[in-house]
């Protein structure tokens, strides 16, 4: 049985300016521990798909199952990193990282211990009293990751987590993520604009068409997972296949 299953999920936003169909009839099945990347043109509903998976936005039609249960709202074991990291500028690194535990009423000692452990893992302990505005982009990203990991999630959703970083920091964090994933057997969904990132971090790559987002193709990427994958010929083959798909999708839209 798949860990995450979407059945014909559509999301329509009802706003002041009428209705916007953001996602149309998306079905997929992800195994436990699998790494998914989601890619598609801007505004095609990638963030919407993550919000739906997080239980923050209910599907207008269709249904989502996680761990065999129908998703009806936020779920304790799901963590999401939002597009702009979702850190709070008024909280320090430590307070940001500890917030999830605090909200879930963990005991004071447990909050302190878990937060400390994760901050050490992500080399952030020396900066625990700083505010996000006093950090580099890469450090902020690590804080967001720390906050998600404190909750011991089994499903980690990331919305363009590395898009505003320089190339070197980005590769370093991508490698970080790969290691975290392998250690914990996390199921991950990562939204990205970058073809290379999708191929490096996605065992399955979900390609969406322009709005309303429909599945263009789910690309299988069996070579993913090795740290040196970027230098292999298969990597570049999958990249060019994706590039082709995205061009075609854009032409249609």
């Amino acid at each position: 049985m798949p860990f995450v299953r979407l059945d014909e999920v559509s999301v329509t936003y009802k706003g002041h300016g009428g209705e916007v169909e953001a996602l149309s009839s998306v079905s997929l099945a992800a195994e436990k521990g699998e790494a998914w990347a989601v890619i598609g043109p801007s505004g095609c509903g990638k963030s919407t798909l993550l919000y739906a998976l997080a239980g923050l936005v209910p599907p207008t039609t269709g249904s989502i199952f996680i761990g065999g249960e129908r998703l009806l709202g936020e779920r304790r074991e799901t963590s999401i990193i939002l597009q702009d990291y979702g850190l709070f500028p008024w909280k320090t690194v430590y307070e940001n990282a500890a917030l999830g535990l605090k909200i879930r009423h963990y005991s004071r000692e447990e909050v302190a211990r878990k937060t400390r452990d994760i901050l050490i893992d992500l080399r952030l302990l020396d900066f625990k009293n700083r505010f996000p505005s006093q950090l580099s982009g890469g450090m902020r990203q690590r804080v967001a990751l720390a906050r998600s990991l404190t909750l011991d999630p089994d499903l980690l959703l990331m919305d363009e987590p590395f898009s505003s970083l320089d190339a070197l920091t980005r590769e370093e964090l991508q490698n970080n993520l790969l290691e975290v994933r392998q250690a914990d057997g996390l199921t991950t969904f990562l939204v990205t604009h970058s073809i290379e990132e999708a191929v490096f971090l996605g065992r399955k790559i979900l390609v969406l068409t322009s709005r309303p987002g429909k599945i263009a193709e789910i690309v299988d990427n069996p070579g993913m997972g090795a740290l040196d994958y970027r230098n292999r010929p298969e990597f570049h083959e999958v990249c060019s296949h994706l590039r082709h798909l995205l061009r075609k999708g854009n032409g249609d839209g």
């Binding site: 919000y51 997080a54 923050l56 936020e74 304790r76 799901t78 963590s79 999401i80 939002l82 597009q83 702009d84 979702g86 850190l87 709070f88 500028p89 008024w90 909280k91 917030l99 999830g100 909200i103 879930r104 505010f131 505005s133 006093q134 906050r147 909750l151």
Partner: protein, 249 residues
């Protein structure tokens, strides 16, 4: 600590410059209506040991209570109206209709209903600065990006925690700005309210000295008023430094 020293120094140099300009002006004008600063200072010091202190404390009490009361009414209401669209749609017209009315016109009614004591003064000030704080807080709460709310909700926050961890801290810098503006208004309104039908407060003290053509006393009262403003502003600054540390870097 270095910061505090700098602040004290800047206060001292400002006061020195003001005294100098004042001294110059009084020498040019050569009138009892603008006494020299030195004579005002000495009468201020003497007055503060006696009657003036009482009036200072009463005025200070009225301003402080008005501010605290306005904040505790306007901030929660503003936060909720800014976030809950349905409530806002119901209340916004009421606010927009009443906000521009110059509340000072209610002074006679308030005096009639609430008497000439503290209650009427405090009510009038609250009536005025409540709206300033309410409107600013509401607008700040509306401007919070949806992502911030989603972010804390995704961590499992209920509505109480959304307000506590996101809505309130996000609006706090704007609330302090509104407060600083309101303090100026509050003191001006207090002066007006104290300048008739009462025998207590700095407003009364100043107007009374004026009618007795006792200019050193009048200026002593004005000095006390400036001092009161400075004390309240500094208290706000200290609170903001403590609770909005993230905005300074």
């Amino acid at each position: 600590m270095a910061m505090d020293k700098r602040r004290i120094l800047s206060y001292l140099s400002t006061i020195a410059a003001m005294l100098l300009a004042w001294q110059g002006a009084s020498m040019v004008v050569r009138s009892a209506a603008l006494p020299a600063p030195l004579s005002v200072m000495s009468s201020f010091a003497e007055l503060m040991r006696g009657e003036l202190l009482k009036h200072f404390l009463i005025s200070f009490y009225r301003v402080a209570v008005s501010i605290i009361l306005s904040v505790s009414l306007a901030v929660p209401l503003g936060l909720v109206l800014g976030r809950e669209e349905k409530l806002d749609r119901f209340f916004a017209p009421f606010i927009f209709l009443t906000y521009p009315i110059p509340k000072i016109v209610f002074l006679p009614v308030i005096l009639l209903l609430l008497g000439i004591g503290n209650l009427s003064k405090i009510t009038l000030i609250v009536l005025i600065i409540f709206f300033q704080i309410l409107v600013t807080t509401r607008d700040a709460a509306r401007a919070i990006p949806a992502q911030s709310i989603l972010s804390v909700r995704s961590l499992g926050a209920g509505w109480r925690q959304v307000y506590r961890h996101v809505v309130f801290p996000a609006c706090l810098p704007d609330i302090f700005t509104a407060l600083r503006i309101s303090v100026g208004t509050a003191i001006a309104v207090l002066f007006l309210a104290e300048s008739y039908a009462t025998e207590e407060g700095l407003g009364y003290f100043i107007m009374d000295a004026w009618t007795r053509i006792n200019y050193p006393e009048m200026f002593g009262g004005i000095t006390a008023m400036a001092l009161m403003g400075a004390v309240v502003y500094e208290a706000l600054e200290a609170l903001e430094r403590r609770f909005c540390a993230w905005t300074r870097n």
